[in-house]
Each structure stands twice: as structure tokens, then as C-alpha cells.
Point group: C2
Chain length 126, copies 2
């Protein structure tokens, strides 16, 4: 990845007016950029598996709708795995796949930068 190749490329499709991004950063944000994705992943990171309702309790403020939708999307992208036990009452557990865990170093970088920015912004306000 040299510098010239790094910068965002967009492929233009004038026929239907649709721009398809081929930019990996945009692609990544499309996977983890929505409101609840990261809070969910955060809860899963340090754990083996988590049940639906435990997740719902831990991710403050999330509704069934959003939790279900987010989990589906994360599953579709292969970051999260759903395991269902055929018991009564039902028991469903969610866990990170290796692919989900591969996000950790990247998030750590983002965390580091964000933390730096928070400190700098604090200093400017003071």
C-alpha cells in the first residue's frame, strides 16, 4: 500500500447515477459505523458468549428492534456468531468470530487517537 494507492477511490457509474465506493475505509465504516455496532462489539470482546437479554441489559438504551437488526447485520458480515440451544425457554448466545476479533487492533488505534483528541479539546476549552 503505497501512498498513491492509499487515497480513496470511488468508482463512478453514471448510468444509474450510483456511486459505489471502493474505498476500504468507507467499507469498514459501513460495517461498524452505525449507532449500536460498536457498543455491542465492545460487550462481546472480553467475553466468550453472551445471551440476547444480557446484551440488551448491558447495552444501555438499545431496543429489541435495534439489537436484533444490529446483530443480524454483524452476523451477515461474519463478525458475530449466533448459537441457538433447543431448550425451553430458548437460549441464544452471541459471540465474536475470529473475524470479529480481528477488529480489535484497529479499534485500539482509533481509541488511542480519539483519546488524544479528547485531551487536546479539553485543554483548549480550559
Amino acid at each position: 500500500m503505497d501512498e498513491k494507492e492509499f487515497f480513496c477511490r470511488r468508482s463512478e457509474q453514471p448510468d444509474d447515477g450510483v456511486y459505489v465506493s471502493t474505498c476500504p475505509v468507507t467499507y469498514a465504516l459501513g460495517i461498524i459505523g452505525q449507532k449500536w455496532k460498536l457498543p455491542i462489539l465492545w460487550h462481546l470482546f472480553p467475553r466468550e458468549a453472551t445471551r440476547y437479554n444480557e446484551l440488551k441489559r448491558s447495552v444501555r438504551g438499545i431496543t429489541n428492534m435495534m439489537l436484533t437488526k444490529s446483530l443480524h447485520e454483524l452476523e451477515e458480515h461474519g463478525l458475530v456468531e449466533r448459537r441457538q440451544y433447543e431448550t425451553v425457554p430458548p437460549r441464544v448466545e452471541y459471540s465474536l468470530t475470529p473475524r470479529g476479533r480481528s477488529l480489535f487492533p484497529t479499534l485500539k488505534e482509533l481509541y488511542r487517537w480519539g483519546e488524544e483528541q479528547m485531551r487536546l479539546d479539553e485543554l483548549r476549552k480550559a
Copy 2:
């Protein structure tokens, strides 16, 4: 930054119903997460300075409204610097601050991960 400290914390303020995120990742995405921020930064990265209209031409599809708004916000957060020359017609140049450039390693990480995900998704479709 140990693992326990890493995960997202939100401070709850029940009085006005507002949740203020103290999570550095959320903070970072609040700065660079909007639609046009990264495309703009991308154009600035390999350059010394760029004029307003050059930026507008390069960032495909952006309107005056969005370009102006995004640049203002980037300036507020100290990532971008605006320099105005008192000539007729006016000449305004935008460039990255050191703080803006400090984003580069982080973006490279996100790029790397996103690229990996794109390849994996391609393989699954095939």
C-alpha cells in the same frame, strides 16, 4: 490502557435524558464519521494546500453547503487550517494541521482492516 479500561463507557445524565459518551472511539467517529469528512481529508493528505474550488472539484458530488460545513467543523476540531489571501478575486487555501496529519496512522489501520473485509466478502460471494 488495559483491557478493562478499554471498553466503551457512557456517562448517564438522567436529568435531561442526555447520554454523553466518554468513549474515545465514539468521540473519534464524531469528528471524522460524517459523510464527507474523510473524502476531504484524503484529498488534503498528500498536498500542501488546496483551494476551495479545487477541493469542490476533487471531492465528487459534494455541494457548497456540505463542503463549507465540513471544512468549518474540521477547522473547529483543529484538523484543518484555513488561510485567506486578501486578493481580488479572493483566494482561500485549506491545509492539514499536524493534528490532522496525526490521523494518518489510524486511518491506515482502518484501511488495512477494511481491505481485508472486502477481500473476504468477495470470496464468500464467489
